[in-house]
């Protein structure tokens, strides 16, 4: 088997963070190679270097036996490397064909040779057995179709290597099946495919080899899939520090009135008949893949979206939450967002303001006057409680590390003495040690009586933290499972709910 692409000892650092320390990967032509790792392990950086978006600090890329380095995405494309990113990236105002041909539009004397555009793009669409007219406006396609068009775009310059980043994240089961059919077709024709995914079952079902990254280094180098197990992959991904984590066995009093309960709730965002209950002191996990509707459900609970059916109950009483302010002040519900930099902290504001923002309405006096000392002492209490590393409260949040920023994002809810906390993907982009500190923090909060609704797409994290796991998919609840903290069993149980069939644990 020929080696299509080899990644050797790749290293890349940014100011303050090492994205890649020592990445290695051997990709054989015609194989489907999985690239796995936790969030922050370095997968995106590796992809960016291979596709020419960024350059590496050291290490080498060897394509078809020759060492290459790409100054920009065009060079990578010309060398035969195609990519389909996780986020859709098309020009909606253009047609399908023009999007496919965007990187090298066939031209004649400065004008677009439309006939060739349609012909070339049709060729790519045919390669994937896609029955889409290249003249169709992009706007008329569904999200799944757009993704397939992006694959066609990845093939436009006859890709030797095709990288797919979380391709089935927002696809239905049927659409995912369709996608893998295409993937196998391409690999049969000789294209080498790198599949970045966190879905273990899909990886084991469809891939030939697997490479695992952790903290920027390869910890499982190009292993044939037949030679490894779910368990081994997971333990390589999470590493010793987390795998050895003493999981707290906690007592949760389920007879008490739930702090927050949803009874047959349907929302304007598209949820149907959601039922779940979080009790004080409980960590209720909401597991699902991207697009399952969990963040949207959180937004509905917070009043950012309308509840159109069923009842939301706080401490047993039915309520109507009209805004985030309502949720916070009347019902003491808080929300730690997944998008920390844009929604969780105010990067250009001081720590004081970042943490005190939720308590101003409480501590303000006549004419809206906010007493400075009360403000700072309330903030100081949280800084100490969460052990946030700052040099002064006047420091700007944007100057802190990711882990400390996340703590600041959390601090404002603790300052406001919330009783229910919805935490959305808390450890994205955070190093392993801080992750562990976070887990212990979450347990401590629960022990103090907080009801926690934990949203995460990281099954290992979920299995570590949650007392019970609500499995969501496509905006409905598929099932609720009691957490035994046994990863293979839980993984099987959760997946069986998502795929609607019973799968034997391996």
């Amino acid at each position: 088997m020929t080696v299509a692409l080899e990644v050797r000892n790749l290293r890349k650092t940014f100011p303050g963070v090492t994205a890649l320390a020592d990445a290695n990967l051997t990709l054989e032509a015609g194989s489907v190679h999985a690239l796995m790792g936790e969030n922050g392990a370095g997968k995106s950086t590796l992809i960016k270097i291979v596709t020419g978006v960024q350059g590496a600090d050291s290490g080498s890329l060897i394509l078809d036996g020759e060492e290459v380095s790409f100054a920009n995405p065009l060079e990578a494309m010309a060398a035969g490397i195609g990519v389909v990113h996780q986020e859709r990236n098309v020009v909606r105002e253009f047609t399908v064909g023009e999007n496919i041909a965007l990187s090298a539009v066939p031209r004649r004397a400065g004008t677009v040779d439309w006939r060739r555009v349609w012909r070339e793009s049709k060729r790519c669409l045919d390669m994937l057995d896609l029955d889409i007219d290249p003249r169709t406006p992009m706007r008329e396609l569904s999200a799944a179709q757009i993704q397939l068009v992006e694959i066609a775009r990845g093939l436009y310059r006859s890709a030797k290597v095709l990288l797919l980043d979380e391709p089935t994240a927002s696809l239905s089961n049927d659409e995912a099946e369709r996608l893998y059919t295409v993937v196998h077709q391409l690999s049969a024709e000789g294209t080498a495919i790198v599949l970045v995914s966190h879905k273990l079952d899909e990886v084991f079902a469809h891939c030939d080899a697997i490479t695992v990254l952790r903290d920027g280094s390869t910890v499982m180098p190009s292993q044939p899939i037949a030679d490894t197990t779910h368990d081994e992959v997971v333990s390589r991904m999470v590493g010793r520090t987390l795998a050895d984590l003493e999981v707290e066995e906690r007592e949760v009093d389920r007879t008490a009135t739930p702090a927050l309960e949803l009874a047959d709730v349907s929302t304007a965002a598209g949820h149907r008949r959601i039922s779940l209950a979080v009790h004080p002191g409980e960590v209720l996990g909401m597991y699902g893949l991207v697009g399952a509707g969990r963040t949207e459900l959180a937004r509905a609970i917070l009043g950012l979206d309308r509840v159109v059916g069923g009842e939301v109950r706080v401490e047993g009483k039915p309520v109507r939450i009209r805004s985030v302010r309502d949720a916070l002040r009347r019902f003491r519900i808080g929300y730690v967002t997944e998008n920390r930099k844009e929604e969780g902290v105010f990067l250009l504001q001081s720590i004081t303001r970042n943490v005190a923002v939720t308590v101003w309405s409480e501590i303000s006096r006549a004419l809206g006057f906010v007493p400075g000392r009360a403000e700072r002492s309330a903030v100081q209490a949280q800084i100490e409680a969460l052990d946030i590393k700052i040099s002064s409260q006047d420091q700007l949040a944007g100057q802190l590390s990711g882990g400390n920023q996340q703590k600041v994002s959390l601090a404002k809810w603790l300052a406001a003495r919330t009783k229910v906390l919805i935490i959305d993907e808390p450890t994205v982009g955070i190093d392993v040690r801080t992750k562990r500190a976070f887990y212990e923090l979450i347990w401590r909060l629960a022990d103090d009586g907080m009801a926690i609704l934990l949203i995460s797409s990281d099954l290992a994290e979920m299995v570590t933290l949650a007392d019970r796991i609500v499995v969501m998919d496509q905006f409905i609840v598929r099932g609720v499972v009691e957490n035994t903290h046994d990863y293979p069993l839980m993984s099987a149980a959760v997946m069986s709910h998502i795929h609607g069939s019973s799968v034997e644990a391996s």
């Binding site: 920009n72 065009l74 494309m77 020009v91 253009f94 965007l102 004008t111 149907r272 609607g500």
Partner: protein, 334 residues
């Protein structure tokens, strides 16, 4: 073809027809007389050109507040070189166009080089250029007897239609073809539509911005040339009232503020609508300022409507999701 026969364009054509009919009736047909029609088409040329100039900056997601100032400086500079330096008028006309392009280029380079918000850059430039315009002509007016050939061109017509209007239409067609057929034009639209997708495809969004601002300035230069040919003279007032019409035409014509689209026919039709409202003011005897009021209100309404349509689109997506959810629920129950 589908894009040309869009709902928005049909609506605008309808408004033009109805508006013209109303004016025709109010003037007992005089509005459609040769003198009135010629004058109408002559005076709609500049609004069309500056509307297209603004449209080009809008399509890459930028704003050009210096439309009037660029035109004013181009016109006055030409006036000065024709009278003081004896440059032949036709060369002068060419210089007007080139001056516009150079000033537009300056805008583009500043925006890209300093990474400052395009609004502020063009705001500052417009102030600078207004000063330059004053420095060129001061308080005097350079009269059109200094360029008889251009003035004759401005008065001329072909089969009753003013030549400058025909020229404007040709320019409009060229602009439309530029965006529909040339690689450069498509690159501008890609940059405005989705900058990151464009960059990943190897398109330089910086270059697109510079090209867009340069072309915008160029069209302002053409508008300046047209102004020189039919105005009694050039002075500091040239370009002074160009800002609102330059925005009104593309916005009412259906150009998205976020970038990525152009609407040449819509812009032309919208410019005609605004011109009709202008023409109505002496007929129905309301002040010219009321025109400003009406146009301002219509722009507001158009933009608000556009946002409403976006909201509806997202509601549609939610509805699809809930249908899927129902189907999934049914599956689980089984």
């Amino acid at each position: 073809m589908k894009r040309i026969i869009s709902a928005n364009n049909l609506l605008l054509v309808g408004i033009v027809v109805v508006g013209a009919a109303i004016l025709g009736m109010a003037t007992s047909g005089q509005f459609f007389g040769p003198v009135s029609m010629t004058s109408f088409f002559r005076f709609v040329s500049v609004p069309i050109l500056i509307g297209l100039a603004q449209m080009i900056t809008l399509c890459v997601g930028q704003l050009n507040l210096a439309v009037g100032a660029i035109g004013g400086v181009a016109a006055c500079f030409t006036g000065v070189i024709v009278t003081s330096w004896g440059v032949p008028p036709w060369i002068g006309a060419l210089v007007a166009v080139l001056t516009g392009a150079v000033l537009g280029l300056a805008n583009g380079l500043l925006v890209v080089g300093t990474r400052i918000n395009g609004f502020i850059v063009t705001l500052a430039m417009s102030q600078i250029l207004i000063g330059v315009q004053y420095a060129l002509v001061g308080t005097r007016t350079i009269e059109r007897k200094a360029w008889p050939e251009l003035a004759a061109f401005g008065r001329s017509d072909i089969l009753g239609i003013p030549t400058i209007f025909l020229m404007t239409l040709v320019v409009a067609v060229i602009v439309a073809l530029y965006f529909a057929q040339t690689v450069s034009g498509r690159k501008l639209l890609a940059s405005g539509g989705n900058a990151s997708a464009a960059q990943l495809a190897g398109i330089s969004t910086d270059r697109a911005l510079i090209v867009a601002h340069t072309l915008s300035g160029l069209l302002c230069g053409v508008a300046a040339m047209v102004s020189i040919s039919f105005l009694p003279g050039v002075n500091t007032t040239v370009g002074g009232d160009w800002l609102l019409p330059s925005f009104a035409a593309p916005i009412i014509g259906g150009v998205a503020l976020a970038g990525g689209t152009v609407a040449v026919l819509g812009t032309v039709l919208a410019a005609m609508v605004v011109r009709l409202v202008d023409a109505a003011s002496p007929i129905f005897r309301f002040d010219a300022e009321v025109v400003n009021f009406v146009v301002g209100a219509v722009v507001l309404g158009t933009v608000a409507l556009g946002k409403l349509r976006e909201v509806q689109a997202s509601r549609h997506a939610s509805r699809i999701r809930s249908l899927r959810a129902e189907a999934a629920l049914a599956e689980v129950k089984r």
